[in-house]
């Protein structure tokens, strides 16, 4: 299978071509404002570099920050109706109660609450009132809104109320696209609802962006299918991505960590991705990034997405270096992409981390004579300081006492010299385009998050039911059944409930089925 992986970042669009597990070529080019031409350029550059033909490409995988940036920058968002099912419960906290006012203003404060929803054990809170929902639909139509998010209490346990409400809205509001919260998030109603609303307000944009990707691929002469990567490092096909743009949030760091695992052949490790301004550190478990356990904010909105637990520090290839006598101060200020004009080794006037590395003869770029005046004693202190900063954040990301290796990727990887603390360092080939590699190798997943009552069933029975459901979800998402593996099982007993209720979360992943 010949595949292309593309990572569309804010500044760079990186692309790689892979033949099976082998990287044939990797390129970096600039991201463009119109999305499409940047992708066309990257595709052309990587095809040229690999000397392969467009017709040879089976599949294209794209990771993009476009939708995250749209929410963060409050642009291209559609007016959206947020409908909650659960009355009389939940009335004390209406939808969007914790949103920043500016974002609420951009998508309009179109909030509706209706009857329906379930208790933790599946009993209805109140009967779904179809007339009430048709009344809300008429109001939505009258306001000229076409993006609708529906959230029902305990829908991850029982999704029927959301499904029926969705049908009613689809029928009554012509051209509407409806997002159901149970298709996106897990238990935790405000966070799940927030994700559903953000998804709904991105639907117009996603139609546009996915069409641009499709056109770029067609223009390059590639006939293969294309996919987008999700925040958990797995794939969704273009049609699914168009419906669930919110699932692309945070796919950037995920892709670079997955790429690092793949390029190094190590599945359990700490990954350090060093860019121009920051280093992002996270940990890999069975080849996937460890996810954050606390609520993650996107554009000021709390969500409970499956986000990698990444810790960032202000240390990159362009970080300022200041000698303060005893101590050396490094970052967080950085010359960023102006490194090639502002660093000493390029004739500039700012002492950067790259200058320190170049003075030791380890950079492989720039004019080393321009940093010959730096005292060896100072260089030694600066180098030790950089390594101490990295050691500190690697230590924070360690999730077990085992001596895991550290995989270093990203354009700023030259900063790393020798082991980090007591941990072995791996710098794989193609480290600069690890994010595009991560997109290219993405797999397909299925996840389940349910509350089980263990009074009727044993814990083992509940776990195997959850495993079965996760596996089915992975196959439905396009995984080849014989490659599916359960990669994560979490089982949290719920206090205060007799009957031993427990919340079980299981994730299954498999290779993309291309047959």
């Amino acid at each position: 299978m010949i595949r292309i992986g593309i990572d569309v970042g804010g500044t760079n669009t990186d692309a790689v071509i892979m033949d099976g597990a082998r990287v044939i070529a990797g390129v970096k080019s600039s991201t463009t404002a119109d999305v499409m031409s940047g992708v066309v350029n990257a595709l052309k550059a990587v095809l040229d570099a690999s000397a392969m033909k467009a017709a040879d490409i089976d599949v294209v995988m794209i990771g993009t920050t476009h939708f995250t940036n749209a929410v963060v920058q409050r642009r291209d968002l559609a007016p959206t109706a947020a409908v909650r099912l659960g009355l009389p419960a939940t009335a004390s906290l209406p939808p969007m109660v914790d949103w920043p006012e500016d974002l609420k203003a951009v998508i309009g404060n179109h909030v509706f609450m209706a009857h329906g929803g379930n208790e933790f054990d599946g009993r209805p809170i109140s009967a779904l009132d179809e007339d009430e929902l048709r009344g809300i639909a008429a109001e939505i139509r009258a306001r000229g809104i076409r993006s609708i998010a529906v959230t029902s209490v305990f829908s991850p346990v029982s999704g029927e109320a959301e499904r029926r409400a969705g049908e009613i809205f689809a029928e009554a509001v012509p051209g509407a696209h409806v997002t159901l919260s149970s298709e996106i998030g897990r238990i935790g109603i405000l966070e799940r609802e927030n994700a559903a609303i953000m998804n709904a307000c991105l639907r117009d944009l996603s139609a546009h962006v996915i069409a641009a990707f499709r056109a770029a691929i067609a223009e390059s002469g590639i006939a293969g299918r294309f996919y987008l990567t999700q925040n958990d490092g797995t794939l969704m096909d273009a049609a699914f991505a168009e419906k669930f743009p919110v699932l692309t949030f945070a796919s950037g760091p995920t892709n670079s960590m997955r790429g690092a695992a793949f390029l190094s052949g190590v599945a359990d490790a700490i990954v350090v991705d060093i860019g121009g301004t920051t280093s992002d550190v996270g940990s890999l478990y069975k080849g996937f990034p460890r996810q954050a356990t606390m609520a993650v904010e996107v554009g000021g909105v709390r969500t409970n997405f499956r986000m990698p637990d990444v810790f960032s520090i202000g240390l990159g290839g362009g970080s300022h270096v200041v000698d303060e006598g005893g101590d050396v101060r490094i970052g967080p200020a950085s010359v960023g992409y102006r490194l090639v004009t502002e660093a000493l080794i390029f004739g500039g006037a700012t002492l950067t981390t790259s200058d320190i590395v170049a003075a030791a003869g380890r950079a492989g770029f720039g004019d080393r004579s321009k940093v010959a005046h730096l005292a060896p004693e100072f260089l030694d202190r600066a180098r030790k300081k950089m390594m101490a900063m990295l050691e500190d954040c690697v230590e924070r990301s360690r999730l077990s006492p085992e001596p895991l290796p550290v995989i270093v990727v990203g354009g700023g990887s030259i900063l790393v010299d020798g082991p980090i603390g007591s941990l072995q360092v791996i710098k794989p080939d193609h480290f600069a385009v690890a994010n595009a590699v991560g997109a290219a190798i993405a797999q397909v997943s299925g996840e389940v998050d349910r509350v089980y009552s263990l009074s009727g069933a044993s814990r083992d029975e509940a776990l195997s039911d959850a495993r079965r459901r996760a596996t089915e979800a992975a196959i439905a998402a396009g995984a080849a059944a014989d490659t599916i593996e359960i990669v994560d099982v979490e089982d949290v007993p719920l206090s205060y409930l007799p009957g031993n209720a427990t919340r079980i979360r299981v994730k299954a992943v498999g290779e993309l089925d291309v047959r």
């Binding site: 419960a89 906290l93 238990i187 109603i189 206090s495 409930l497």
Partner: protein
Amino acid sequence: MSAEKGYVLTEADLLPLSIGAALLGTGGGGNPYYGMLRLRELMRNGAAIRILPLDALPDDAMVGTVGSIGAPVIGIEKPPEGRETYRAMRAVEEACGVKMAGLIAAEIGGANAMSPMIAAVHAGLPVIDGDGMGRAFPEVQMSTFSIYGGREGLAAMADDKGNVVVVRKAVSGRWMERFLRSVVVDMGAGAGAAGAPMPMSFLREAAIPATVTQAIEIGRTVLEARAGRRNVIERVVDKTRGKLFFTGKIVDVRRELKGGFVRGEAVVSGIDACSGSEARIAIQNENLVLWIDGQAKITVPDLIMNLELDTGEPITTEMLRYGQRVAVIGMPAHRLLKTPKALEVVGPAAFGYPELTFEPLGAER
């Protein structure tokens, strides 16, 4: 009510209150985030909440407790209708034929710090600055109100649908706990509850004083230290008159479910000044015992608070996981929790550690 006493809560007090309440929750008590949002909504719609010191109301004024009970997961998936605790409170008034003059928290630690404030908005009553624990405990009979005999065995529970159940008479706190627990499951594992009113003359003796204000001040300390990039842990230690016992990284968390409670243990490997030492923290819903290198250093009812080392964010027992860097702060419990009578109910033996003797931390507050 004398108008010059106490103060009116502002929106700016809510975030500090939620942080302080979470810290005093000593790992339990539930997440106050949703409660904070509810209060903010009510305030933005014009509600004013007056906090009164313990000496404000006359001796014969009757003050009741309210709170939410149930599993924390219900709180994050099915937020209340809003008037559950208010309906429970009215049912108690009706059952005992007494009008309440104010409300007080049974538990300042965690989500229930906000419950009386929310019910007070609906009832138009003031909230008394104090509570029955000065922290969080898992069971209703573990409050000073029960320990010192101020409560009659009367309580009411209300759900989001309008159902109200009154327990007219429970012969002990344990019986009450049992009844409330079985009703709460039928109500969807979450409900509003109200207890029997108590005269102010009793509360002045039996309530832990000024804990609402204390929670707000602790929260402010955390926020100010963060904003000024100061050492959050040091500031919290100062403010709580506590002591930093241990800093380290969590290397193991074990949990099991026993009788409806999560029991477990977190193992912390020392860093910085504690390098080479190992701490263990017994957790039920709350942090119960701290051992350092095998020696018990803090036990209930003294407070054991786990803070995220860099941000000072309180870590609940449900959030504990491998790799977290924590500061363990000990804070002396109020003297009302340390009498022989109180220790029978909230001492180490009551939580299943009969082999441990309660050795109070110094500097009583």
